[in-house]
């Protein structure tokens, strides 16, 4: 332990505080837990994977004319979106509930 590092003025250099610093704090908090990367991985694989799965069942060559007319590849390509939204919802919910369960919420609110 050094007393030198305890002297005041060490942190007086950079004023400014507000939405930007709050956003930076949230970004750092989001990035620094493992659940975030897991969820993003599940999000990407789930969303792309589900769309690929659905579209892999469509076979243009063997479709009837009526099916071809009704076939909407863009819409079917978005099938995974619903799942993806759900997974991202989990990310959001985890980010805030962990604040409450750990008590970190006090610091988050007290400091902003």
């Amino acid at each position: 332990m050094t007393t030198a590092t305890l002297t005041r003025s060490a942190t007086r250099a950079e004023p400014g505080y507000g939405f930007r610093s709050a956003a930076r704090m949230e970004w750092l908090k989001l990035r620094s837990v493992r659940s975030t990367s897991w969820i993003l991985l599940v999000f990407a694989i789930g969303m792309i994977g589900l769309s690929v799965l659905v579209l892999s069942h469509a076979h243009w060559a063997t479709m009837s004319a009526a099916d071809r007319a009704a076939f909407d590849p863009v819409n079917e390509g978005f099938t995974g979106l619903a799942l993806g939204q759900l997974v991202l919802g989990v990310l959001g919910a985890l980010a805030i509930t962990s604040e409450f369960s750990s008590g970190m919420i006090r610091a988050t609110f007290a400091e902003n």
Partner: protein
């Protein structure tokens, strides 16, 4: 400096803090004492704007907490040892807190060094022992290099070496002209560090004094403390000497 004036906090029909007024002066360590349930934590929460007093005010460095521009730079607080995400490393936790008040990143290393956590900085904080968690909480309190420090039961869970460390740390911080308020329910512990005392019981101010003055009132500091807080504990201690006999 902390100035509390006529603080009142009710929870339903229970009065947690009852017309409490006191000053905490800079340059000294002030012990904030009272039996369990006396209202120490509630008072500290009101100082930090986490609880709204039903009436009265508390000012930190002359301002209401909500009017502080960069609160972490004005007042550092340790309310609960484990107030962090268990999956986050100590460094990440402090870095995020620093970002919220635009505190330079280099300061994170400083406080890790002050609290002796450099080696554990990149481990997940959920794996920390209670003593290390306390150190991390103290690191967070020191992050903004604040003029006012509020520590709620900081010695809980610290080993003897840690207790000695925190005593020296608090004395050093006060010697630098900071206002240091340390709550405890152990008079003997506080007497080792504090010069001044604020004693409360059932939410009311019982004494605002110095350690020397209080210990002069009775044979021992502990006896003087018990005489002061007698009748204000949440529970009755009349059965202190157990009357029954074994066998």
């Amino acid at each position: 400096m902390i100035e509390a004036r006529g603080l009142v906090k009710r929870y339903g029909s229970t009065i947690a803090v009852d017309n409490l007024s006191f000053d905490v002066m800079p340059g000294t360590v002030t012990g904030f004492l009272g039996p369990n349930g006396a209202g120490k934590s509630t008072t500290m929460r009101m100082m930090l704007g986490l609880d709204r007093p039903d009436s009265g005010t508390v000012r930190i460095s002359g301002k209401d907490y909500h009017d502080l521009h960069s609160p972490l730079r004005e007042v550092g607080a340790l309310l609960e040892a484990k107030a962090f995400h268990p999956g986050r490393t100590a460094r990440a936790h402090l870095t995020a807190l620093a970002a919220s008040n635009s505190i330079p990143k280099a300061r994170v290393n400083d406080v890790l060094e002050i609290t002796g956590l450099e080696k554990a900085a990149d481990r997940r904080a959920g794996k920390f022992s209670l003593g290390m968690s306390q150190r991390l909480g103290i690191a967070a309190a020191l992050l903004g290099d604040p003029a006012v420090l509020l520590l709620d039961e900081p010695v809980n869970g610290l080993d003897p070496e840690g207790i000695r460390w925190i005593r020296n740390l608090l004395k050093n911080l006060a010697a630098q002209g900071r206002t240091v308020l340390v709550s405890s329910h152990l008079i003997s512990e506080v007497a080792q560090t504090a010069d001044r005392l604020v004693v409360i019981g059932q939410g009311r101010l019982l004494a605002q004094t110095t350690v020397a003055e209080l210990s002069a009132r009775s044979n021992s500091l502990e006896e003087a403390f018990f005489a002061l807080t007698e009748g204000s504990a949440e529970y009755s201690a009349s059965n202190l000497a157990y009357q029954g006999s074994i066998s």
